[in-house]
Homo-oligomer: 192 residues x 2
DNA sequence: CCAGTTCTTGAGCTACAGGTACAAAATGCG
DNA sequence: CGCATTTTGTACCTGTAGCTCAAGAACTGG
C-alpha cells in the first residue's frame, strides 16, 4: 500500500547515530542529518517526526549495538580478571582508534542532556544499570571461583567498576595518548 | 578614561558560569546570558567579544573556584584514606544536593566539546592533570606512611582514582539516589 | 486504469541565534 | 567647559534551526 520507502530506515538511524555520537544533540542540525542520511528534509521529518524522536531512536540503536557488545564480552569464559581486563582494554582501544574520539554515546548523552531530557536520561540510566549488573555478576563469579576477594560487597565493587569504566571513556575524549588509560585498566584489575 | 562599567565583570562571568554549567555550551543562547547577567546585549558583546570567549572565561573561573577546592581538600592532614573518602563524599553530596544536578562542568565540557573545541579540551585536560597529580601525591603520601600498599604503581593508582572520580560525577547526573554513589566511594577507598 | 494510500522533494515559513552599528550617556583630563 | 574615551541600550542584520506543506511519484487493490 502506497509508495515504498526509498531508503532503509534502520540504515538511516545508524547514520543519524553516527552524527549525534560525534556532535552531540544540540550541535547537530537538521541539515547535518539530511546530508548524512542522504534523504530530503521532508522524508526525514515524515519518517521520524522530529529531531528529538530521531535522537531517541539513535540512542536506542546505540544501546542495542554498542552497549550490549561490551556486556557480552564480560560474559565469555576464562579467568574473570582476564575478561575484565580484555573488556576495558577493548574500550580504550576503540576509543583511541576512533579518529573523532567520540567516546561513549551514553556517557556523552548523560553529560549533555541528563538535566533537560528525561527520556534520554532514563535510557542512559538503564544502560548504566545493565552494565553495572554485568560487572557485578562478573565479580560474583570471581568470588565463587576464588579469583576475587570476598571481603568487599560485590554490589559495591560492581558499582565502582562501572564508575571507573565511565570515567575511562570520558577521559578518552581528552586523552593525549594511550599510556594513562592503560594504567587505569591495570590498576583497576589489580585492585580486585 | 571613559565611562566606568556599571557591572562587575567577575560577577558577570560567575553568572555565565552558572548558566553554561547548567545548560552546556550549545544549548545556551545569548538571550539566556543577557537574562542571567542582567546587562544589555551590547554590553555583553562589548565586554566579552563572543559567546565562545565568555564560555572560556567561565570555564577558567570554574577551574579556579571549583576544581581547585577539591584539590585543596586532598592536601589537608589526617589519615590519607580518610581524606580521600571525605573528598569523594563531598563530591557526591554536592552533586546530589544541586537541584539542577549539573555534575562537574569540566566533565560535561569534555563530553560536549572535546572533539570540536581544542581550547576547551586543553583547559579540561589540564584540570584533569592537576587533579590526577594531587591524587597521585596523596597515594605517595599514603605509601610513605604505610597506609597504602606499595605493590602497585602510584601513578597508576592516581590515574585510576581520577577515572573513578570522573565516573562518579558523571553518574551523579543520572543517579536516582545516593546509595550507589556512596557504595562507589567505599569500594574505592577499600581498594587501596 | 482508477482510487486511495504512502512516500519524496524542495520551497517556504516563523522564530531566533549570534553578532554589529550607532547614537546617546557617563566619565577623566586639560 | 570641551574633548577623547569608554560604556550602554536598542535597533538592526544575516543566516539558519526546526519544521510544514503542496505537488507529485510510486505503489496496491478492485
Amino acid at each position: 500500500m502506497g509508495r515504498p520507502k526509498q531508503f532503509d530506515p534502520e540504515a538511516a538511524v545508524e547514520q543519524a547515530m553516527q552524527v549525534f555520537w560525534r556532535q552531540g544533540y544540540a550541535a547537530t542540525t537538521p541539515q547535518d542529518l539530511v546530508d548524512a542520511l542522504g534523504i530530503g528534509k521532508g522524508s526525514l521529518y515524515h519518517a521520524f517526526g522530529s529531531k528529538h524522536a530521531l535522537f531517541e531512536r539513535a540512542l536506542r540503536r546505540y544501546r542495542d549495538s554498542q552497549a550490549l557488545a561490551v556486556i557480552e564480552l564480560l560474559g565469555g569464559d576464562g579467568p574473570v580478571k582476564d575478561r575484565l581486563r580484555a573488556a576495558l582494554l577493548m574500550l580504550v582501544e576503540m576509543d583511541l582508534a576512533d579518529p573523532d574520539r567520540r567516546g561513549c554515546m551514553a556517557v556523552n548523552t548523560a553529560a549533555e542532556l541528563a538535566g533537560a531530557d528525561e527520556v534520554a536520561a532514563e535510557l542512559v540510566r538503564r544502560m548504566f544499570d545493565r552494565t553495572e549488573e554485568a560487572l557485578r555478576a562478573l565479580v560474583e563469579e570471581g568470588r565463587r571461583s576464588g579469583e576475587i576477594s570476598t571481603e568487599r560487597d560485590a554490589r559495591a565493587v560492581g558499582s565502582m567498576l562501572l564508575s571507573t569504566a565511565v570515567g575511562l571513556r570520558l577521559l578518552a575524549r581528552v586523552a593525549d595518548g594511550p599510556e594513562r588509560l592503560s594504567l587505569v585498566v591495570e590498576a583497576t584489575v589489580d585492585s580486585l
